[in-house]
Amino acid sequence: MLKLWLWPIVLATLTLTGLISGLVSNSIGDLWAWIGLGAPVLVMVYFGFVRKI
């Protein structure tokens, strides 16, 4: 169970906290929004298009 859902839950949490933090706070909140939404994008690029196995 954990193996299956750990990464999806981590990425969804990053996304949701990023979406909200950018809305409620400008400087540090925006920074977290970039990290929170940047992480899923990097994960997609790495696993989907960079890693060759």
Binding site: L4, A33, V43
Partner: protein
Amino acid sequence: MTISTKTLRRWAWLHKWSSLVCTPFMILLCITGLPLIFHHEIAHLTGTEVEAPILEQTAAHADMDDLVAAARQSQPEYFIQYLYQELDEEHLWIVGMNSNLGAAEGGKTVVVDARTAKVLNQPNYEEGFLYVMFKLHVDLFMGLPGKLFLGLMGILLIIAVVSGIVLYAPFMRKLDFGTVRRDRTRRIQWLDLHNLLGIVTLAWVLVVGTTGVLNTWADLVVKYWQFDQVAKMIAPYKELPPPSADQLGSLAKSVQTARTFAPNMRPGFIAYPGTILSSAHHYTVFMRGDSPVTARLFLPVLMDAKTGEFTDSREPPWYLTGLLLSQPLHFGDYGGMPLKILWALLDIATIMVLGSGLYLWWKRRRKPLEELLATATLEQDATGDVKC
């Protein structure tokens, strides 16, 4: 945990049909949404955006009455419906005018310098590339029915995503997160990519999808607010005849009244009497706060349009606040350029999920689910239930 083959088959059916129906429209929304993320930048580059000139002296803001007089003079055949200020542009007032006060389209837009009360430009926002993208994205050029239809497609998208999460488990159980089996057939590779991109974009798609659906109900929400809260605020005026255009008093006085009522806020949107966002008797000044959240919310203040005296003001109800807060979460316009770029990349990833879903369906459209399950490294127990 196991899930019976019968239940799984039901989820697969739900995923297939909810996706198939909404996918063509979602691809359209993702493609038209892409330039809309950067609408400011595109308008700036193509020279269609009106920008405030740099003045040699820092001027105070002009009298609102001079400002509306300048707008009216430039379009004498039209009535002012509203004045609007962008969140990050205090030097401009965008004045919406129309020959019919209640109409939402077919009007003129006049941009006036808030400091000098000079008309800067009269852009036509109802033409050009961005307008076509906007209309395709919002209502397919079909008005409210188009909006509600796209909202329905949005609900199907949410169903497709939720059923997709259920199906993710049996398909990915024996694989590491992020596995893309590049040594297998093209279909398997796309299945893996579909699962990867789908599960990673999940939260973003749900938020943008849900807030998009909420936005399709905006017109109805505003109408309900009229019926609910505005009706109570203007109850004393119920029997009175509405003022004619030449009976309207000073807008500047009304704005000043609103500023006095809410000293820590500033006017962001002003609706003229007779328009859908005000009553027949009032100037409604929508005041915005100065924190990142309150700047996006509005406190409506109603002033008697003849006298400029305060009539009423009430905190907007939850459904209006919810609608206003759902907008940035749909537009992605609250975290600078980096957020816009991430928004665009997540949008492109969503197009890939939609496209790969369509491809996977096409490849397997005549094969029963059992065969699909057999190739998907599912693990079944003795009773035939699928582990997940």
